[in-house]
Structures are given as structure tokens and as C-alpha cells.
Symmetry: C2
DNA sequence: ATAAACTGTTTACTAGATTAACAATATGAG
DNA sequence: CTCATATTGTTAATCTAGTAAACAGTTTAT
């Protein structure tokens, strides 16, 4: 009876420990990979280069000229309030303009300047170079697969 | 001649705009996916549950009992200073102990308590449930592929 | 007409992280 | 052995990215 209890306890302990391997979690791997890519992005674009989120915002403003702040925040998945500083920076650098929209005096359309479009084209090239170099151990097929799988995760969003 | 210049300029403009699609970048997709997984993690584990980084730290302490703070920080890829608050929290909750190491009075070995091991086993189940549910639109094969591709990115790290 | 909703913004706050400095301790070269 | 160098855990200051709540101005819908 005592030996049975002991056996039971040993089994419980083993079950408790059962391969506590962090590496099995997708979230953990996602974060580690994200940190690597993000920090290489910053390193490559340099001190005065765009931060990732600023690059993203500029990209969308170039792609969707006249997008509103609300719309842009929605596209980026952040709060309107959080976007203000980003747009301030881009406007301060002369890369976009906040313009009035006739017919709705609440909203401001964000319009890229010529300088903004040029700066974006350059930055895009730099970002492509950064990803190409950093991810050179992934084949094009692998990159496409990764994009598709990340897309599946993104598709889960409410 | 003037018309030739005009044509050239039009071509330049088009080249400038050339599909400025944020979605083509792996970094952007990685971040968006990471945000979704991370926020579902928090939502699932709840107000009083572990934050992702605390869960990760506890996992490694359970897997590597007697790991030092420095070693743990290295494994997590963060600074030693940043780990202090995490270990404080885990020790405050009674889930691990900072213990002296005979032979080196600088270091403290981090040892999980029984309570810590139990709490980790429960949390691990919750995290697995969160990932299983959130990522239910990915097959096991797809999850394995994703892990392997994220592993390739992680392998690029210095 | 008036309640409800939306827009851009400010302010205050939080989380997660880094850097620089520090005292205590250990290690290695001469 | 000694002394320069390195390591450990920690604090303090700082930074970035983000949220939440409130607000005035404006629009929409009942």
C-alpha cells in the first residue's frame, strides 16, 4: 500500500514535469522571430530611418492617398490616438499633408507629398534589401509558405 | 522632345508608385500575427494569469531548475536587468526561489517550488488550449511547417 | 430636434525593454 | 600572490509602443 502510494506520486511528478518545452509554442517562436526581424529592420534603416510602424503608415498613405486617420488606424490595427504621433512625424518630415475633406469637416485626408512618395520608394528598397539579406536562408517558396501561414493566423482576427 | 520628356516623367512616376504594398513584407505580417496571438494569450489567461514573458521564464525555470538569472536572461534573449522584475514576480507568487550556489557567491540559482511546478503545468494546459483554439484553422502539418520556418528565422540570429 | 455616433486629439497611464552604473565576487596573466 | 578584467544580480533613468478615457466639433439617424 505504501509502495503503491509512492509509485503513484512518482507518476504524478513525472506528469507534472512532462517536457516543459517552451519551444513547442507558436506564440513564443513567433515573438522570437519577430524580435529578430524587427531589430534587423531598425539596424538596417539606421538611426534616422523610419521605425517599422512609421514605414507601415507611410506605405499605406502612398497606397491609399486621401485615407483618413481613422481609416489608417483601422488598417494598421491600432487606436486612433496612437496614430497621431506617427502622422505628426510624417507631416513634420514633409512626407504627407493633413488636408480638409469637403463635405465632412470632422475628417482629414492624409495625402503623400512628392517627397513622401520618393522617400517611401527609397525606404521600400531598403526594407526589401533588409529582408532579402536577413532571410537569405529561406527559399522563395519557403517565404511564400510563411506568408500564407501568417495570413491564416491574421485571418483569425475578429 | 517635350513630349519625350513628358513620357519619361510619366514612367518615373509610375515606377515611384509601383505596388506599394505593405502586405509583401514578412516583417509586417509577422508583427500582425504576433499581436493577434499575444493578445489572445492574455485574453485567455486572464487578468491574474501569467503575462507571456512570465510564463516563458517559469517554463524555463521548470525545465532547467537551478538555472541562473544570467543564464535565463540569455535563453530568453533579454537583458539581465529586465529579468529582475520577472523573477521578482515569480518569487513573490511563491513559484520559485532564489537560492545560493556553493562555490560562486555571485550567482543565484533559480529553483521552482512545488507550487511553481503545479502552476506551470496548469498554465501550460491553458496556453495549449489557447493556441489550439486560436489556430484551429491551421492543420498540424501547417503548424509544424510554421514552426520550422520560424525556426529558420531564429537561426539567423547572431 | 435631439440622441447617438464618429473624428481627430490630448492626457495619463501601462508594459516591455534598454543602457549605464554599482558593489560584490571570481578568474586569469604575469 | 596580486592586480586587472570579467561576471553577477541589481537599481535607476530612460525609451518606445501602445492603450484607455475624455473632449469638442461635427455628422447621422430616429
Amino acid at each position: 500500500m505504501a509502495s503503491v502510494r509512492k509509485t503513484d506520486k512518482r507518476i504524478e511528478d513525472e506528469a507534472l514535469v512532462e517536457t516543459p518545452d517552451l519551444e513547442e509554442f507558436i506564440g513564443y517562436n513567433l515573438k522570437r522571430a519577430y524580435v529578430i526581424v524587427q531589430s534587423d529592420f531598425r539596424r538596417t534603416l539606421g538611426e534616422d530611418g523610419f521605425a517599422p510602424r512609421v514605414f507601415s503608415a507611410l506605405s499605406l498613405v502612398v497606397q491609399y492617398p486621401n485615407v483618413t486617420s481613422s481609416g489608417l488606424a483601422r488598417m494598421l490595427g491600432i487606436e486612433r490616438s496612437g496614430l497621431v504621433a506617427i502622422v505628426d512625424e510624417l507631416e513634420g518630415r514633409g512626407l504627407l499633408k493633413r488636408t480638409n475633406v469637403p463635405g465632412d469637416r470632422r475628417v482629414q485626408a492624409l495625402v503623400p507629398t512628392t517627397k513622401g512618395k520618393t522617400a517611401y520608394a527609397e525606404a521600400r528598397a531598403a526594407v526589401r534589401a533588409h529582408e532579402d539579406k536577413l532571410l537569405s536562408n529561406l527559399s522563395d517558396d519557403e517565404k511564400a509558405t510563411l506568408m500564407s501561414l501568417l495570413g491564416k493566423i491574421r485571418a483569425t482576427e475578429a
